[in-house]
């Protein structure tokens, strides 16, 4: 066993942890916005797939990473607009619409992929590592923290921006109030629907970006169902993180660690554990986390409840 836990192993695992956590960070912080405003979007898996595909297709055709990321965000936002139309304007059940979003995301991206790409088999160029001069070459920390691409570093920016927007702006204050006591916001003269649309659009844009990481920052290919449950894990992350963006960042890292461990451990022939058991690790941890974390205090009171005036 002692040949498994070496400094190199730890550095590689830490680096992989952050990389594998990145899509979860985007998706879960997005979902924090949405849920804080009282909209439970279980469809982010589907939104991530749309983001992953839109990003992949754009880079495939144009070769521009920036344009790819932009289209991933736009694709996510479009899904958000659709979700908002049904849940906020039409006031349909959020769970049912969310389930439909997942099916739509899966079906639509699979259809488009098979139509346009399956015969090409060609990948795209993924976002390059930004090796910070000096820092990347440091032993241990270089490998763990300073040899990542822009999307991985971007997670830090998203956390900071999320905290600032939610807690330091008038928009964030109103958004937090909308999920707790929408009527008070209405009476204070702000449109509950508008804020919920805003929250859902932010949420889905970030989920789209999280999806794009999978095709443009991680693997260079689109595969049907490439999100493989990350959208659902992000939902668990939000609960585990008690609806806090900083919490969501660290909980995502924790899940990233499980992903990294299962990958690293699979590569260890000395361990006689079936790889399927290891692959199940993040999902088992999701269930465990949801069983362990039971709190009603932090849950936005009006989560999942459409707002009706009057």
């Amino acid at each position: 066993m002692d040949d498994i836990v070496t400094l190199g192993f730890i550095a590689t695992t830490l680096g992989a942890t952050w990389r594998l956590a990145a899509p979860l960070v985007y998706a879960s912080i997005g979902e924090v916005f949405s849920e804080r405003a009282g909209v439970l979007n279980i469809g982010i898996e589907g939104v991530m797939l749309v983001g992953a595909f839109a990003g992949f297709a754009t880079v495939f055709w144009t070769g521009s990473l920036a344009l790819g990321l932009l289209m991933a965000v736009a694709g996510g936002a479009l899904m958000g607009l659709l979700f908002g139309l049904f849940t906020i304007t039409i006031k349909a059940d959020q769970i049912v619409v969310g389930a439909a979003m997942n099916l739509l995301g899966l079906g639509l991206t699979a259809f488009l992929y098979r139509t346009y790409f399956v015969s090409t088999g060609r990948g795209v160029e993924i976002a390059p590592s930004l090796n910070l001069p000096g820092l990347s070459d440091l032993p241990f920390v270089g490998e763990a923290f300073f040899r990542h691409n822009i999307l991985v570093y971007g997670t830090l920016l998203v956390v900071i921006a999320a905290v600032f927007i939610l807690h330091r702006t008038s928009f964030g204050l109103t958004l937090r109030a909308v999920g707790e006591h929408p009527k008070a916001v209405d009476i204070a003269g702000r449109s509950v629907a508008l804020y919920r649309y805003g929250a859902v659009l932010i949420g889905c844009s970030l989920a789209g970006l999280g999806g794009a990481y999978l095709t443009l920052g991680h693997s260079n290919q689109f595969v049907e169902g490439i999100a493989s449950g990350r959208g659902f894990i992000a939902l668990a992350v939000v609960v585990f993180a008690r609806w806090s963006p900083i919490g969501a960042f660290f909980v995502s890292l924790l899940f990233g660690l499980f992903y990294a461990l299962q990958l690293q451990l699979q590569a260890q022939p000395a361990l006689h554990i079936p790889y399927q058991a290891l692959q199940a690790l993040p999902y088992v941890m999701t269930i465990a986390a949801l069983i362990l974390v039971r709190n009603r205090v932090d849950t936005p009171s009006m989560l999942g409840v459409p707002y009706r005036k009057g």
Partner: protein
């Protein structure tokens, strides 16, 4: 035509689909007066005031405020015209601080919040000026209901108003807190503001208002100077006929002990202690009242008695049998009836017909069921019987209970529970949200049960309800009984002090009263 009044609402109509909430209301309010708006639940008071503060827009009619017509599209515009309302259900967001609530919805949404210090300072100034103790940094969910109300009132004052509307402000307060609030209203008027005060409590209206308007069936039926009227006249105007202010009570002497509770403790759903070692007895032929500000363990006590909340310790004996620890279905088969606090959550199932609501606990018992099959003939007959005896206004027994008014729903719940002919009757909020007519009827029915020798425990936040029918009143505060007081209106102040947890002061008052009598 005299001078233009401060506020005139002319021929206001408001319809919600087929439901008419305002049917041509005319109301005039003078500057710098406290104008009470009195009426039963459903008379249209709240709707009218929500129109005035921009939450609802009228179907027809116009408002003239300070001499010019007022068209409000939103509550923001009302605030701009310096009209503010303290709603019955508070409009403060629980997970935000007081100061955050005050800036909510004001200024550009894209603004970065930097001036919270300034906001806090202004809150402190105002809080000092009006003698309202409000801490700007407190989070709303940490505050008591009375504190939250102060936050609400100060919020309206913070935004600046000339016309302040309060919807049933004393419903959630102890008598002392209510006194302080009424005094504050006087101060506000002295400060140049005009107050409209919605209430259904006659005594408050008599005490604090300059003028009073009575609403019934979506119209103002009567407006007068308060000094020129009396409670009996106002009550008659509210109901449209004479009402019994004091119900005739037969003297009964309590018999054997039916319910004996010893040292009962239980936790609320968050796991915090809610009932902390209470002991009491209820005997045949007596009505024991439990008074207290809501949230002091009354709900948990009721749930524990019927087995819906596990007791942490203690014993509950019904007719000498220990029922503590039995399941609610086992308790259901004992001679015990329960009229729950929130009929919509626990008493009835709204979309179901009256017939099925009547047999909710007895669907599997004879005569309503036989060999696993429901006997609809028996059920309908029984329902018809209850409808007739309790004068429930329903078109037929198969009607969904949600089509009935609150008063009629409650009559059916009371009818159902009394029909089970229990030895012990647990009532939590007998008359909440129902009109005077229904109140009178259910109170009389409960008194009849007492005469029949039933043991009755009545938990209520309405002291008037307790005074009207109880034989003795226990006062609950933070999960304990702080004292027992006879249902004597002269002892109101003492009860109020106990409700606020001030046992020493209450004791002193009691001794002084005793000394005067001696």
């Amino acid at each position: 035509m005299g001078a233009t009044p401060f506020l005139r609402m002319e021929n206001i109509h408001k319809r919600f689909g087929p439901v008419i909430a305002s049917a041509g209301v005319n109301l005039e309010v003078e500057e710098k007066e406290i104008h009470a708006l009195l009426g039963e639940n459903g008379a249209g008071k709240s709707v009218l005031m929500n129109i005035l503060c921009g939450v609802l827009s009228p179907t027809e009619g116009q408002i003239v405020f300070k001499g010019s017509p007022l068209r409000l599209g939103s509550p923001r515009e009302a605030i701009r015209h310096r009209i503010g309302m303290v709603h019955q259900h508070f409009m403060v967001v629980p997970n935000l601080t007081v100061a955050e609530n005050y800036v909510l919805g004001h200024g550009s949404p894209l603004r970065v919040i930097r001036d919270m210090k300034q906001v806090s300072t202004r809150i402190r100034e105002l809080s000092h000026r009006y003698g309202l103790d409000v801490r700007p940094d407190a989070r709303i969910h940490d505050l008591s209901v009375g504190e939250q109300q102060r936050v609400e009132i100060l919020k309206v004052l913070y935004h600046g108003v000339d016309l302040l509307i309060l919807d049933e402000p004393t419903a959630v307060l102890t008598p002392q807190e209510a006194d302080r609030l009424l005094a504050l209203l006087r101060d506000l008027v002295a400060d140049g503001k005009t107050v409209i005060f919605i209430s259904h409590k006659l005594d408050e209206v008599m005490r604090v208002s300059d003028r009073v308007s009575v609403m019934r069936d979506g119209k103002v039926v009567f407006t007068t100077r308060t000094a020129e009227t009396n409670p009996r006249e106002l009550a008659r105007m509210m109901v449209g006929r004479d009402v019994l202010m004091d119900l005739p009570r037969a003297q009964t002497s309590p018999g054997r002990v039916v319910l004996a509770v010893e040292n009962l403790s239980c936790n609320n759903e968050l796991g915090l202690p809610a009932v902390r070692g209470v002991s009491f007895e209820v005997r045949q032929g007596e009505i024991v009242g439990v008074a207290g500000v809501s949230g002091n363990g009354q709900s948990e006590l009721a749930l524990a008695l019927v087995g819906l909340l596990p007791a942490a310790s203690g014993s509950i004996r019904l007719n000498g049998e220990e029922i503590c620890g039995l399941t609610s279905s086992e308790i259901n088969h004992r001679p015990l009836s329960h009229i729950p606090e929130d009929r919509h959550k626990m008493g009835i199932v709204l979309p179901l017909p009256l017939t099925e609501n009547v047999i909710l606990q007895r669907y599997d018992q004879a005569p309503f069921s036989s060999r696993g099959m429901l006997r609809f003939g028996e059920i309908t007959e029984h329902t018809r019987d209850l409808i007739r005896r309790f004068k429930v206004k329903a078109s037929h027994p198969g009607e969904a209970i949600q089509n009935l008014s609150g008063g009629n729903q409650q009559k059916l719940v009371v009818a159902r529970e009394l029909a089970r002919n229990p030895d012990f009757l647990l009532i939590n909020q007998l008359t909440r949200g129902i009109d005077i007519g229904a109140t009178e009827l259910v109170m009389q029915e409960v008194l009849k049960q007492k005469e029949k020798g039933k043991a009755i425990l009545l938990i209520s936040t309405e002291l008037e309800e307790l005074f009207a029918i109880c034989d003795r009143i226990l006062v609950m505060f933070e999960g304990q009984f702080l004292g027992e007081v006879p249902p004597d209106r002269a002892r109101l102040e003492e009860i109020g002090l106990l409700m606020a947890g001030n046992r020493e002061e209450a004791q002193r008052l009691h001794n002084r009263a005793g000394a005067i009598e001696a």
